[in-house]
C-alpha cells in the first residue's frame, strides 16, 4: 500500500495536468469557433469563381486550359498533404497521414513518381522521415490561414503540372463535418473534375479585357488556390475541434484518476489511523 504522502503528490500532479488540459480545451473551443467562421467565410469566393469559370469555359470552348484537360497516361502524381502544425489533437494527423500513405503506396505500386507538398509541421516531419520527395512545404501557418503563405508552395506543384512533371494532383486534408466528426479525405484537385461548365443556353459572351485567354488563366489559377485555401481552412477547423474533444476527454480522464487516487489516499489515511489507535489500545492493555 502506498503511503499517504506519495498518493497526495500524485494527486497534485494529476490535478496540475488537468488544469492544463482544461485550459487547452477552452482555448481550442474559442479558436474552433473562429476557425469555423473563417471556413464559412471562404465559401462564397469559391462559389463565385466556379460560376464565372463555368460561363467562361463555355463561352471559350476552343481554348483548353491544361487544368481542365485530363491526360491519358499518368506517370507522376502530385500530392498536397494538409496537416496541423501542432499535436495534441487526437488522431487527426495520424488518420490523414495513414490515408495519404495508403494512396502513396498504391501509386508507387503502379510505378508512378510522387511529388509531395507538405502543409503543416506534422505532415512535413512525417513525410521527411518517411523519405518521400517533398518538393515544397509550408509550416507555421498559425491560427489564421493566409493565402499569401500558401501561394509559393502551391505554385511549385501547379508549375510541375503545367510542365508535365506531374499529370495529376491530389490534395489530402481533414474534412470538417461537425465538432465531433472529422474525416480524412484525399481528393483530386487537377485536372479539375466536376462540371465547371454551366448550362449551355447562354447566347452571350463577355467583353474581355485584355483578352480571354489571360483572364481564364488567372481565373483558374485563383480557383485552384481557393480550393486549396478552403481545404486548409477546413483542416484548421477540424484541428481545433479535434483538439477540443481530445482535451475534454483528457480532462474527464484526469478527473476519474483523481477520484480513484483520492479513494486510495483516504484508505491509506484510515488504515494509518486505525493502526495508531490499535497501537495505543494495545499499549494501554499492556500497562
Amino acid at each position: 500500500m502506498p503511503s499517504g504522502k506519495e498518493v497526495r503528490n500524485k494527486i497534485k500532479s494529476v490535478e496540475n495536468t488537468r488544469k492544463i488540459t482544461k485550459a487547452m480545451e477552452m482555448v481550442a473551443a474559442s479558436k474552433m469557433r473562429k476557425a469555423q467562421d473563417r471556413m464559412r467565410a471562404a465559401r462564397p469566393y469559391g462559389e463565385k469563381i466556379r460560376r464565372v469559370a463555368g460561363h467562361l469555359s463555355h463561352a471559350l470552348s476552343e481554348y483548353h486550359h491544361p487544368f481542365l484537360a485530363s491526360r491519358e497516361k499518368v506517370k507522376n502524381v502530385g500530392l498536397i498533404c494538409v496537416t496541423s502544425d501542432k499535436g495534441l489533437c487526437g488522431g487527426l494527423n495520424s488518420n490523414i497521414l495513414r490515408l495519404a500513405l495508403q494512396h502513396m503506396k498504391e501509386w508507387e505500386g503502379e510505378g508512378k513518381g510522387l511529388h509531395v507538398t507538405a502543409i503543416g509541421n506534422k505532415g512535413f516531419g512525417f513525410m521527411q522521415r518517411a523519405g518521400a520527395r517533398v518538393v515544397s512545404s509550408v509550416i507555421g501557418l498559425g491560427d489564421r490561414p493566409q493565402l499569401e503563405k500558401l501561394i509559393g508552395a502551391v505554385k511549385v506543384q501547379l508549375d510541375a503540372y503545367i510542365n508535365g512533371d506531374i499529370d495529376v494532383l491530389y490534395i489530402g486534408y481533414t474534412r470538417f463535418i461537425n465538432t465531433m466528426r472529422q474525416e480524412p479525405v484525399v481528393e483530386q484537385l487537377l485536372p479539375l473534375t466536376g462540371d465547371l461548365v454551366g448550362e449551355s443556353t447562354n447566347k452571350w459572351d463577355y467583353i474581355y479585357e485584355p483578352d480571354a485567354k489571360s483572364v481564364i488563366d488567372d481565373l483558374l489559377l485563383r480557383y485552384v488556390e481557393a480550393l486549396i485555401y478552403q481545404a486548409v481552412a477546413e483542416n484548421m477547423a477540424s484541428e481545433q475541434s479535434a483538439r477540443m474533444v481530445a482535451m475534454k476527454s483528457a480532462s474527464d480522464n484526469a478527473k476519474n484518476v483523481i477520484g480513484e487516487l483520492k479513494l486510495v489516499y483516504n484508505k491509506a489515511r484510515q488504515a494509518a489511523i486505525t493502526k495508531e489507535l490499535s497501537e495505543i489500545v494495545g499499549g494501554a492493555a499492556a500497562v
Binding site: R38, K48, S94, L101, F126, A130, G152, V156
Partner: protein, 140 residues
Amino acid sequence: MSLRVHVDVVSAEELIFSGETEFAVFPGEAGELGIYPRHSQLITRLKPGTVRLKVPGRDEFEMVYVSGGLLEVQPAMITVLADTAIRAADLDEAKAVEAKARAEEALKNRSAEINYAAAEAELAEAIAQIQAIKKLRNQH
C-alpha cells in the same frame, strides 16, 4: 427610383462587401471603369486600387481597397474576386522558389526510397496509443 445593381466583393478569406449600388468605379487593368446598372457582360483583371461604390441613400462613396483580382460584370450583378495578396508573376515566382529551397534544404540528407514499413509503424503506434487510451477510458 434609380436603377440598381448588386455588387459582391469577395476574397478567398472573406466576403468584403455585398449590397445594392447605383454606380461603381473599379481600378481596371486598362484604366478606371465606371459602371452603371445594365452594363453589358464584361470581365477584366483589376490592378491594386480602390473600388468605389455608390450606395443608395448615402452621399459619399463606399470605399474598398483591393490588391488586384478579377471583375465580372453582368447586367444585374457585379462580382469582384479580390486578391488578398499583391500578385505579380515575379512575386509568385519568388515565393515558389523560396518554398522549393526550403523543402530542398530540409531534404538534404534523406534516404532515396520511401520507407513505407517504418512510416506505417510510426503511424500504427500513434493510432494504437490513442485507441489504448480510449479503451482505458471506457473501463472507468
